[in-house]
Each structure stands twice: as structure tokens, then as C-alpha cells.
Amino acid sequence: MTIKSIVAREFKTVSGISGPLLFVQGTKNVAYGEYVEIVAQDGSVRHGQVLETSFEMAVVQVFEGTGGLSREHTIVRFTGEPLRFAVSTDVIGRMFNGSGKVIDGGPPIIPKEKLDVNGSPINPKSRAYPTDFIQTGISAIDGMNTLSRGQKLPLFSGNGLPHNEIAAQIARQAKVRKTEEKFLLIFAALGITVDEARFFINSFEESGALSRSVLFINLAQDPAIERILTPRLALTTAEYLAFEEDYHVLVIITDMTNYCEALREISAAREEVPGRRGYPGYMYTDLASIYERTGRVIGKLGSITQMPILTMPNDDITHPIPDLTGYITEGQIIVDRALHRRGIYPPIDVLPSLSRLMKEAIGQNKTREDHRELSDQLYYMYAEGRSLRELVAVIGEEALTERDHMYLRAADRFEREFVSQGRYEERSIEQTLDIGWNILSSFPESELKRISLNTIQKYHPSKRSKVS
């Protein structure tokens, strides 16, 4: 943003307040998107951003909410600047609130740069396609829906499911093997409870990740509209650290559902025509402005990998929040209630889960040459087993053929041996693949149509034991 009127301008002409919005009269040359400071009667300062501007009026969204503001006694100061966040490597190991104020009692940050929190789109021409395998140590992810560096891969979960444990386990275990690179964790909490926040912080502390992390914490009791800002602060910081300071950054954002609620609140206050289920029609584009701030850039060492977490209202994957997210992210990891009820941890349902970047992240020199064929076969086996399970529920087991029984048994084993693992169990990719082979070895080779004869020759347990 170029700054035309460097001078800040003050107005005391608030003509209306509605939800998180202030309507300021007679503003003339206020710029769209301009950063605003709002001084309440008690002298406290809030901040906001211009959503609409005309000769007569400006509409300002107030991140801390408008509670306690009055028409008569509010001073609105337009700064002539976009909203910026001061960054430097000093932020590492520090904790901020949802609007970027230091809350860990430490010294203020000495900034190296002040960056527009809205960022700029990465030129698609400049992107480097993600190809580096991140080993999370979780088989359902590494084996079936591989994460790669520079990917945006959300967890789709539901209330009361162990998505936090899974995210913490990933944060603890994620590594790119055979490298000694600078790794960082950025954690943005949006409207989560104190207990949840404490769980994450303790877990980071325990694993020693806290000193290599930057935390942005907006809790459930904190202002809701601030949640519009928090992920942008986190990603501005991530972009700086990845592309200026060469860090590999993993950004965990939770819970994006709360973000979308804040977006809906603003849209309602502006009396916009609502889209599906009351969420604004531009929610896709707005979410993209967060999720797309991920990736790698040609010629830069660092990278941003994003793992947003969202709880699906009513476990409904067609709800606009997971739906629009799935349309933007590069896959999704589904945390499933049925598996959770059956005591399987992590309760990841691999069938509706997907990693779109898997194909480039696996194979020889990355994971192992048999990875793709093996996971294709495991998918086939598990999908077949699951649909037979449904059939059994209708017609009973007696009617099944021997082949059917084989698939049913293998699907059970897949859940118990492959998907299921300990919260502190970190499996290497070789271990993961070998468990997969073990399960498949109960089939005659002719059933393994997804796997080439060469690969069977080389990796099938029966052949391997013969060799050794």
C-alpha cells in the first residue's frame, strides 16, 4: 500500500455502531483497508481496519469488538497505513495475544521489518512444487496420506475428538529425514479454551519445541473479531521467517471454525446477502487468503507448511467450513468419530482423507520405491473390506465368499495394526510400510493387482524372508 496521506486523521463523528462495526461520518479521503486506532472514553486503544470508504462515511471493523464504545465519546484515528506487524528473529520463543501484543512478560520485540499483515499473493510462476517428505511418525499419514514440506493439509475433526493430540504428536515428531535444517513451529490459537491452549503449550515445552516456536493466543474469552487478525499475524511471521530467514516453518492453526464464525459475524453486521448457511459468499476467497500463504518459493531455502484444524459442525463434511477448506487445501486428514469410539488412536479414516501432494513426496530416494503401489493396494483392500462390512450388516456373514472374508479380516487388521499406534509412538516410514506388507501378505499374490510383479518380488514378506 502506498501511503498518500501520511498524517493520521482523527474523527469524533461515529454515527452508528453495529456488531463489530463502526460507522464514521464525514471522513472523505480515508483509504480502503487502512489501519485504524479507536480510542474509547476510558482512553484505552483498540484497533481496526476500514472495510468500506466513501465521501460521506467509512465503515471500520474493530478487532476487539465494540463493547463499551459510545457514539459521543469515541475517537477514531485513521493512520494512513495498512495494518502491519513488526517482525524479526526476536519473535522466536515468544508468546503474543491474538492481536500481536507480547503476553509472556518478556521484553518488547525489536523489529527488523514491519510487514503488511495481509501479505501479497505468491506469483504462481515463482512457486517451487513441494516434494520433500515430512515424516510425522504416524502411519495413517505417512503411509497413506503423506505430508510434504510446503503443503497445506488440514485436520477435519469434530467436537470431543483427539485432534489436538494428533496435532501435538505431529508437531513433536515431524521431521524431514537426513537433514539438519532450521525448523520452527508457529502456533495460532483461535477461540480455544484455556485447557486446550495449556495442553499445547505443555506439549511443546515437554518436547523442547517451545524455544523454537512462536505462539499467538486468542482464547475463547478473547474478542471474537480478533480471530480475523490472528492467523494473518501468524502467517506474516511465517513468511518472514521462511523467506527472509530460511526457516522451515510448520504453522498450526486451531480452530478455523471459530475464524469462520467471526467472518460470518462481520458479514451479518454489514447486512450482506448471505451465502450457504449464513456464511458470506466470499468465504472461499477469504479462506484462500489464509491457506494459500503456504509453500515454497524457487530460490529460497525456507518453507511454510500449514496444518489448520477445524471442527466440523455436526461432523458434517458438507458444511461450508470443511467444504470450502477442502476445496482450497491440498487434501485433508479426517478424524473419525466411529473409529474413536472403537478406541482406535489416532482415529484417522484414511478413505476420505487425501494428500494431493503425496505422489511427488514418495518413492525412491524419498520414502521407498514400493510406497505408491503398496498404498494403492492398501486403499483398495481397506475400501473393499469396509464396503463388505456394510454388506455383512445387511445380509450376515454366512453368505460371504472366502475372498470376502479375507478382505474383512484384513480391514480389521489394518485398523488395529496399521492405523492404530501410541501417542508417543514414532514409526519410521520403513516400519509403516512393513506393517502394510504384513497385512497384505495374507492375500494370494494374484489379488495384489495394484502392485507390480517386480515390487512383489522385492518387498513381499514371503520373498524377503526367503532371501535372508
Partner: protein, 596 residues
């Protein structure tokens, strides 16, 4: 100078990508304007008295009321000429490679480099000479634009109805700005021609007439070529929920379709998907010529976090470029991924204008805009005195919310397109790719194109009908199994189920990332169908004579059908004859077993 200044308008209001301006006396609809002190590009989309509404193609942060709006007198246009191929542009044809050089890896605002390189020299070979009479669309000469497009035609502009060449350069190297010919149009009107032209993106380029489409666009995707084919000049929609394979299919078509030119529009989707094309296409070889595919490809990338007004424009930018190559007499295939994001851009802008919303908030003109877009596809006789034919095939991805096809964008699209490839979330979750649902998809070109296929593969349509029928029967049999269990099935019915399973798994499923399977030529496609059909029809005789399906299934040659897709195109004919022989032997040995 002063006069021009008087014509400047003034910004009255800014709401996101929409700017309201006053004092816009002589403005025309769809005129390009420069907005604000940064002179960012916008387009007039509504005029009311002296006021105009402008959609702005870049982020409007920092723009304020009171700033000027400068008219340009031009409609929003694209540059056409040699140098388009092999490039990547944003939605308003800014070359992203040049932007990267100018502003680094983040796209900065207010930079407008030329779309086509001005300093590059092209080797022009004239085919007309002084004194020749020409009409609109006539070809003056050619340049070699890329190894895959040897003859980029330099044509007489569509607006020149009649003229005579009064000057034309010799064969040689010229930049696109240099004059290469003069056309005397009479009445002292001599037009100087160079190799670059401009065309407004919202106005279809004129043609002589539409002709019917009877040639298939061969895609190398088995299910498409055999069951739901698209014609050259045809229209197709791929709707599907997230992760069902729309983009992979579009990439497959961009790679393998037998078109001369590919225009690929990434419209409001992911940045990495464009990066993928940029990394992969220079390495992938065209199966026909063996040359890198990027040489026939033009990419338009206006990804999801780039400005939405430019997203709205992107599909027209792409379409105009496609028409330009069609006018040379080429077959062009255009992919738009995803038209839903374009429609959402339309909706957002309409919302900012406070227009009366129609269904799900989309403007009432949504379906007419969609129809107008697809209307620009087709096969036609193009302008020019020589009889030339060109075509544009359009394949649009649709992203219905919640994968529910009853929503307005899917429905409006289905009313105009002739091919429907319905992607199915449940197939995708089973990793059955391409996840095209064989029961609900259709192609209205199928019957016409069968005539073409019959010329090369006499029983092509017999086979494809047999496949469709078996898949339909499978559905009914599965229903029976669900109700009363598999025991109720006869051996013949079990054989049909087995045949259907083989069709689904060994034929319809096609792995985009497997080098041998990604592209299946028509011959391999045909032989695969023949083998499966042979298996079924011969097995049926055995079953009729009392042999169990499970015994047939365990024959080595029958199991080999499961791996046939991984036999490369070049080797397939030999493989076909050898497997056919083995099938014959194995099956007859079973038959012998019964007799003996």
C-alpha cells in the same frame, strides 16, 4: 493535455474490488480505466448518469475517495501475436515471468508489462504479394512460433473487410511491432499491419459459419474416449466435490488431448497446481511428435488469492486467445478450472453492487453468462478466402458446494454443455480414478462419433455398448445381493458381476501417475476392450456348460487381464495377440476338462 485532464473522474466510494466514481461523462461500458494514484487497472461494469461502477483488477487497499479515475478509451483487451505459447499470464494477461523479474516472488501492484515480448524477432515468411486482394482473416504469412506450432498465421484483421496489399516485407526476422505489410482499403485508407493485434476479451471474434462437429478430441483417457467422448469443438463439464479429480483430469486432457493448442485457465484454484504444470509440461513429451508439451500450451493463472475481478476476466482472456488460434485454422482445447470460482467472483462483485440476488446469491444473469461463454466453443469455418476450419473445445470444471449438483452453477452449465462427466465422491474415496460415474455421465456426441470410430475399429460401438450394458446390469445385480444375498445369484449372473468388476478395475480405472497407463492410445484402448469382451463371451459358453466362474477366474491368463493396463502402448499389439492366444488355450482347456 488540459482537455484530457478534464475528463478524469473522481472516486466516490471503495468497497473491496469495486469502486464507484463520478464525473465519468464520456465513459463506455467495459472501458478500461486507471484507478487512483497508483493507476491500477479497472473496467467499467455499470454506468448510471455521470457515475460509473468499476471492477478493479488488483487489490484496492490504500485507494481512497477523491483520487482520480483516468479513462483510456480502450475496451479491456488482450494482445494477440507470436509469443503467446509457452507463457503464463494472470487473468488480465500480465506475463507472470516478467512480473517475477520486476517485483520478485510476491506479486506487487500496479505493474503492467507488455504481454508479448517486444524485442524478440520472429522469422516471417510471407505468402502474399503486392497487388493481392485480401479480406478479413486472410493469411499474409507465417512465423514459426514454437516447435509444436510451426505455422503461426499472421492474418488480416477481422475489421478489414476488403483490401489490396500495397506493400509486404520480404522473408526475414521482425519484431511484432515492426510493420510487415500495408493494406490499401480504398478511400485513401491504408492500414499498416504488424504482427500484434488486440481484441476485446468480452467480444467473440467473428467467424464465417459454424459447422457440425464429427471428429473426436482424443484424450487418451479410456472412459472418455470409449464411453463419453467429446468432439473437437465440443463442450464438457466436470462437476465434482473437492478431491474427486477435476484438476487431475484437466491436467490429463491438457497433456494428452490431440489439439494443436491448449489454453489452460487456473481460475481461482491453487498456486501449486500451476507450479506443477510449469514444472511438468516442459518435461512431458507430446505422444504424437515427441516434443515437450509446453510448446503448445498457454497458461492463465489467476489463483484463489489473486484479485477476484481478474479472476472474473480470466476465462474471457483465455477464450479470446483460444479464438485467435482457432482463426488460424487450429484445433484448440480450453480448460477452465474452476468455473465455479469464476461464478463466485461474479457473485461477489454483484453483491458489492447491491444487485438483486437470484438463487444462492448469484446474480440473475449467471446462467446467461455461462451460456455465452460456452457458446464461444465450437467448430467453424473461420474468416478468410481460403476454406479453413478451426475448433475450440471447452472443458469446464465445476465445484459444487457440498458436492451437491443441484446448485445453480452446475445446473446452468448442464443446460448448455453436451458432455457431462460426473465425478463421484464415493468412487474417489475408494481411489477409483478417474472417478467418473458411468451411470450418470453422458455424451451427446457419442452416436455421431461412433461413425468416426467405426472407420478404424469396426466393432467399437458394439463393445462400448456392451460395456455400458454390463455396468448397468451390475447395478441391478448388486441390488439383488443387497436384498437377498449373493447365494441368490446364478453362475451366469456371477459371471456378469465378474465381467463388470474387470471392466471397472482393469479398464475404467486409469492411473494418471503411472507412465504406462496415463495415456492410452485408441489402439490399446480397443484391444483392452476386445480382450475383456472375449473373456466374457467365451466364459459364458463355459458357464453355460456347467463350469464355475471361480475356476475360470483362477486361470493365469484371466488373472493377467488385471495387469494389462500397465503394458505400454507400443507393446500392446503384440501383447494382445499373445494374451488372446493364452486366453483361448486356457479357456479351451477348461472346456476340454468338461468334455473329458
Amino acid at each position: 493535455m488540459l482537455k484530457q485532464k478534464l475528463k478524469f473522474g473522481v472516486i466516490k466510494k471503495v468497497v473491496g474490488p469495486v469502486v464507484f466514481a463520478e464525473n465519468m461523462e464520456n465513459i463506455t461500458m467495459y472501458e478500461m480505466v486507471k484507478v487512483g494514484l497508483d493507476k491500477i487497472i479497472g473496467e467499467v461494469i455499470r454506468i448510471e448518469g455521470n457515475s460509473a461502477v468499476i471492477q478493479v483488477y488488483e487489490d484496492t487497499t490504500g485507494v481512497s475517495p477523491g483520487e482520480p479515475v483516468e479513462p483510456t478509451g480502450l475496451l479491456l483487451s488482450v494482445e494477440l501475436g507470436p509469443g503467446l505459447l509457452n507463457q503464463i499470464f494472470d487473468g488480465i494477461q500480465r506475463p507472470l515471468t516478467v512480473l517475477e523479474k520486476d517485483s520478485g516472488f510476491f506479486i506487487r501492484r500496479g505493474i503492467y508489462p507488455n504481454a508479448l515480448p517486444r524485442n524478440k524477432k520472429w522469422h516471417f515468411i510471407p505468402i502474399k504479394k503486392v497487388g493481392d486482394k485480401v479480406i478479413a482473416g486472410d493469411i499474409l504469412g507465417y512465423v514459426k512460433e514454437s516447435p509444436l506450432l510451426e505455422r503461426h498465421a499472421i492474418m488480416v484483421h477481422p475489421q478489414i473487410k476488403n483490401g489490396q496489399i500495397s506493400y509486404i516485407v520480404e522473408e526475414g526476422d521482425y519484431t511484432i511491432d515492426e510493420m510487415i505489410a500495408k493494406i490499401d482499403c480504398g478511400n485513401n485508407n491504408v492500414v499498416e499491419v504488424n504482427m500484434i493485434t488486440r481484441w476485446p476479451i468480452r467480444r467473440p471474434r467473428p467467424i464465417k459459419r459454424r459447422v457440425s462437429t464429427y471428429l473426436p478430441l482424443i484424450t487418451g483417457q479410456r472412459i472418455i474416449d470409449a464411453l463419453f467422448p467429446i468432439a473437437k469443438g465440443g463442450t464438457a463439464a466436470i462437476p465434482g466435490g473437492f478431491g474427486t479429480g477435476k484438476t487431475v483430469m484437466q491436467h490429463q486432457l491438457a497433456q494428452w488431448a490431440d489439439a494443436n493448442v491448449i489454453v489452460y485457465i487456473g481460475c481461482g484454484e491453487r498456486g501449486n497446481e500451476m507450479a506443477e504444470v510449469l514444472e511438468r509440461f516442459p518435461e512431458l513429451k507430446d505422444p504424437r511428435s515427441g516434443l515437450p508439451l509446453i510448446n503448445r500450451t498457454i497458461l492463465i493463472a489467476n489463483v484463489s488469492n489473486m484479485p477476484i475481478a481478474a479472476r472474473e476476466a480470466s476465462i474471457y482472456t483465455g477464450m479470446t486467445i483460444a479464438e485467435y488460434y482457432r482463426d488460424m485454422g487450429y484445433d484448440v482445447a480450453l480448460m477452465a478450472d474452476s468455473t465455479s470460482r469464476w461464478a463466485e467472483a461474479l457473485r461477489e462483485i454483484s453483491g458489492r453492487l447491491e444487485e438483486m440476488p437470484g438463487e444462492e446469491g448469484y446474480p440473475a444473469y449467471l446462467s446467461s453468462r455461462i451460456a455465452e461463454f460456452y457458446e464461444r466453443a465450437g467448430r467453424c469455418e473461420v474468416l478468410g478466402s481460403d476454406e479453413r476450419y478451426g475448433s475450440i473445445s471447452v472443458i469446464g470444471a465445476v465445484s459444487p458446494p457440498g458436492a451437491d449438483f443441484s446448485e445453480p452453477v452446475t445446473q446452468s452449465t448442464l443446460r448448455v454443455v453436451k458432455v457431462f462427466w460426473a465425478l463421484d465422491t464415493s468412487l474417489a474415496q475408494r481411489r477409483h480414478f478417474p472417478a467418473i460415474n458411468w451411470l450418470t455421465s453422458y455424451s451427446l456426441y457419442k452416436n455421431d462419433l461412433d461413425l468416426w470410430f467405426a472407420k478404424y475399429f469396426p466393432n467399437w460401438s458394439v463393445l462400448t455398448k456392451e460395456f455400458m450394458q454390463v455396468l448397468q446390469e451390475e447395478e441391478e445385480l448388486i441390488e439383488i445381493v443387497r436384498l437377498v444375498g449373493p447365494d441368490a445369484l446364478s453362475e451366469v449372473q456371477k459371471l456378469i458381476l465378474e465381467y463388470a468388476r474387470k471392466i471397472r478395475e482393469d479398464y475404467l480405472m486409469q492411473h494418471a501417475y503411472s507412465p504406462a497407463d496415463s495415456y492410452c492410445d485408441l489402439k490399446k484402448n480397443y484391444y483392452m476392450m476386445c480382450l475383456l469382451s472375449y473373456f466374457y463371451n467365451e466364459s459364458k459358453k463355459l458357464v453355460d456348460s456347467g463350469i464355475q466362474v471361480s475356476r475360470i477366474n483362477s486361470l493365469p491368463s484371466v488373472q493377467e487381464l488385471g495387469r494389462m493396463k500397465f503394458v505400454p502402448n507400443e507393446e500392446f499389439e503384440a501383447f494382445y495377440f499373445s494374451l488372446l492366444e493364452r486366453l483361448k488355450n486356457d479357456l479351451s482347456s477348461l472346456a476340454g476338462g468338461v468334455k473329458g
